[in-house]
Amino acid sequence: MIEAKNVDFYYGDFHALKGISMKIENNTVTAFIGPSGCGKSTFLRLFNRMNDLIPDTRLTGECLINGQNIYDKAVDVTELRKNVGMVFQKPNPFPKTIFENIAFGLRVEGINDKNFIQQQVEESLKSAALWEEVKDKLKKSAFELSGGQQQRLCIARALAIKPDIILMDEPASALDPISTSKIEDLIHGLKENYTIVIVTHNMQQAARVSDKTGFFMLGKLVEYNDTKKMFLSPEKEETQNYITGRFG
């Protein structure tokens, strides 16, 4: 389970997240929505410590995964990121073959067993619903794939190292409706084995893929509820104003 306890986060003097507490159950899809600059991506990136890479930032409160505070000094960030994979807005395959994109993470892990790597590549590509489209061109460059395929390749790459959690930061915002639909189907399928947290600007996408939705505004978590409840009868007026387009 993922849990945030009274989390505040600062970029220098800017107070980006204000007193956020939230629990995310295993094997669920949780969507974060909210206007630009509301803190939803910042909050997402806390869970694989991506914000550590930004200078002059400060965190108070606790971020726990399965009860362990991931900001404890004893936590190995590399190990954490193996367990918490991430998919970004823009597909970012390595300038390598399709096969090597997936195999790379395994090799970094010190795995050299060719058969095992072959098997993991196939399994990951199948899980990412890409195998049928690329099985005959594994030795081709990843850049030859379409945007939607590249994004699914990035998801396959994240799956290859067997994480428990996958964070997705607007994974379909650069894709056409068909590729978007494939990614959304994929998210539904992956839920069985992974916990997925997705940031999206597309509210209908949040409604389609997620079990729970969190609405952020000005660094605060305004409402966190079952997605069906959020989109039919949200409790907070700010949520209603935002999702119906009356915001601002």
């Binding site: 009868s233 949520t239 999702i243």
Partner: protein, 222 residues
């Protein structure tokens, strides 16, 4: 107001127009029945097509709104409510039409005159007309405070209906030659009773839209 809100308000306005038409049909049905006014009854029958036209137009507008704007939250609840209210209004329009056809076809004026007071048909008509007009006000003013009062009126309508079964049965026993008029009048009373039920459904839709609560079938579960 945003474009999407304007579109939704336009549908709401159409439903209001339909509502006023159905209310007028119902008031005329009352007059036509109580006064055995065949001309007025014919007018109701001829205006029934306008009610149907409203229903088709609003159905189509609601479908388009859902397809084009993907409404959520209060907007979704409103468009779903309007769709269902419009279908219910059409049913009420059908009942008003049915009552008018009874006046045109059946020659029961003397029977009606004799038994109307005892049957409390005027009271029944007035009650469902009040239910329909108060629910119009509730939606127009987006206020559900009236909902309890309107739902309680339906119980009054049901009581009168149950009583009228006994009154007509008794009358038929005494004057078997008026059996046909008695049965036909019972059908009219049944229509008014159903109008009361439909008005309750409309109130439930308004509560769903405004308070996001589902009242439907809650009476049975209590």
């Amino acid at each position: 107001m945003k474009h999407t809100e304007r579109e939704l308000m336009a549908i709401k306005d159409e439903v209001s127009q339909m509502w006023r038409l159905v209310l007028s049909q119902l008031e005329k049905a009352k007059q036509a029945f109580l006064n055995n006014d065949i001309n007025l009854a014919r007018e109701i029958v001829s205006r029934e097509k306008r009610v149907d036209t409203f229903e088709l137009k609003i159905d189509s507008d609601c479908e388009n709104y859902i397809a084009l704007y993907n409404p959520v939250a209060v907007d979704l609840r409103l468009v779903l409510s309007l769709l269902r209210i419009c279908n219910t209004l059409e049913r009420i329009g059908d009942f008003a039409d049915g009552i008018a056809r009874h006046v045109v076809k059946e020659n029961c004026s003397s029977f009606t005159k004799e038994i109307t007071d005892e049957l409390m048909i005027e009271k029944m008509f007035d009650t469902v007309i009040l239910m329909l007009s108060d629910s119009y006000v509730a939606l127009d003013s987006e206020n559900t405070k009236l909902s309890g009062k309107i739902l309680a009126l339906d119980e009054l309508v049901d009581d009168i209906y149950r009583q009228s079964v006994k009154v007509i049965a008794n009358h038929i026993r005494q004057k078997p030659e008026e059996t046909e008029c008695g049965l036909n009048t019972m059908l009219v009373i049944r229509k008014i009773e159903r109008i009361g039920d439909h008005c309750s459904n409309i109130v439930e839709e308004i509560v769903f839209y405004i308070d996001a609560k589902v009242l439907k079938h809650s009476k049975n579960e209590e």
